[in-house]
Symmetry: C2
């Protein structure tokens, strides 16, 4: 049980974490701070936070758990704003979709106080942003990746593991480098492709007519193209090397498919499609067992 | 009310049409034929068809409505098998996802009997194939595109319109050329990209680990990668020119996004993402009003 949770950045992710902890009876009070006062006020009005803080530092003051849920490029500025109150025993976490850049910023700014920071990435989200979409169940049945450093306080890693598990997550640990390579492949590249694909259709002369004919396959394929521009700008820039590497691999596979299409090689085309189709049919999203939700 | 429906190709699409017509009380009897006798037997056992025919021609004999639901490359062979019984007043339709190639085959084989053929493409499907997945509601709330020719019997076009509307479809008419251009953009290209993307991930050395971390965005983005290989082989080959044209457009948009990522131009990247994101957020799939389902 925590006494006070500070949420820095009261959006979808931070707001959902606050609601989940409240729902699980894990926290007495939630204090929130957002760059825009109207966002903090909205979070308060919606009952997502109990108190609005006037600065990130004031939110941290007196809190025993702090969630930094800002676009990843704002992590460094946030660490700077709060560093004087980053004290041993208080659990600091983020929810960033990239980890190397956040960890680097934490090392740079927090120096030896970085021991209090447990980098976290919950694999959850919605294609809509904002605290008005916050949802106590957003993290239930999802994975969360922790990327602790050699100097991270092991007791805080355990505390972080316990709190995510208590709101229904399966907790995995890996290095920031492995995290960023994996998520470039399974999350960042698909977002890039979905943005590119949707734009390419929408900006054609006949785009509007085409869009009126699109069906359920198109709907699901492009759902992530509606994701938050500021969040994804930061992710794609922060992890650009891995994303561009994955995009190159994708282009090679697309080249191979186009080559057999162009040459009319039906058998080779069917083989290529079949290997994708069978692999996808055999894939299932990892979700924690229901028992994990205490 | 039809007396006898012939389904040539008892798979997901043909089976679902049979079930939908039965459910709507539009047909007395369904006779089915598939290339593989075990498929026809299965369709009968599941109650999707009432009688198994030993050839496509025997299925057509005595039927007043015929649905050709075979992979598009098999259309020509099917027309050849049944041409001697293509008679005025009997409604012949297909369900192919491409229309120029099917219409060309129909003209070539049926000659002046092509007047009885109303080319149709219902915008519905599942990522699983086979009559065991046939569903009386597959077409409800979906669009169906008819691409009649100048010589198509207008009374049969009306009959086709009525039967699709009666099972819950919104019926649109366009030329085969416009159809193929539009569906290259909103259906065929996304399938190609999904096949390429899933393959590219699955065949990497760390692919298995990556796949174990993928979340709901990935799940939806790749759903169509599980589609039927034989069906999609035919579609991508039949409509290759339009598909490759769309793929070129997509690559240009991807190039532009990668360029701003590589150069670190955050503002330009956010602008590109925002235009996709806002357009996608404002898009909704066209679905007929509930009242259309009689």
């Amino acid at each position: 049980m925590f006494n006070q949770l500070a949420v820095i950045g009261c959006g979808l992710m931070g707001g959902s974490f606050a609601l989940a902890l409240k729902r699980a009876g894990l926290v007495r009070r939630v204090i929130g701070y957002s760059k825009s006062p109207s966002t903090t006020e909205k979070a308060k009005r919606l009952g997502v936070i109990d108190t609005a803080a006037e600065s990130a530092l004031l939110a941290v003051s007196g809190s025993d758990i702090v969630l930094i849920s800002v676009p990843v490029a704002a992590s460094e500025a946030t660490f700077k704003a709060i560093r004087h109150l980053v004290e041993p025993g208080v659990l600091f976490m983020d929810v960033g979709s990239t980890k190397r850049d956040v960890v680097d910023a934490a090392r740079r700014v927090l120096k030896d106080r970085v021991a209090s920071f447990v980098p976290a990435h919950p694999i959850a989200g919605k294609e809509v942003a904002g605290v008005e979409h916050a949802d106590a169940m957003l993290y239930a049945g999802r994975q969360v990746i922790l990327t602790p450093l050699a100097q991270t306080d092991p007791q805080l890693v355990q505390k972080a593991t316990d709190v995510w598990a208590a709101i229904g997550c399966q907790v995995l640990k890996m290095s920031p480098e492995n995290h960023d390579a994996a998520f470039a492949a399974v999350s960042h590249l698909p977002h890039l492709l979905a943005f590119a694909y949707f734009s390419s259709i929408a900006k054609q002369p006949a785009g509007k007519d085409f869009l009126s004919l699109a069906g359920p396959g198109f709907r699901d394929f492009t759902r992530i193209a509606a994701s938050d521009p500021a969040v994804w700008r930061d992710i794609l820039l922060a992890n650009r090397e891995e994303v561009l590497k994955q995009s190159m691999r994708f282009r090679h596979t697309l080249d191979a498919l186009e080559h057999v299409i162009r040459s009319g090689n039906a058998e080779a085309l069917e083989d290529l499609i079949r290997s994708a189709s069978e692999a996808r049919a055999g894939w299932q999203m990892n979700t924690p067992k229901p028992g994990a939700l205490r």
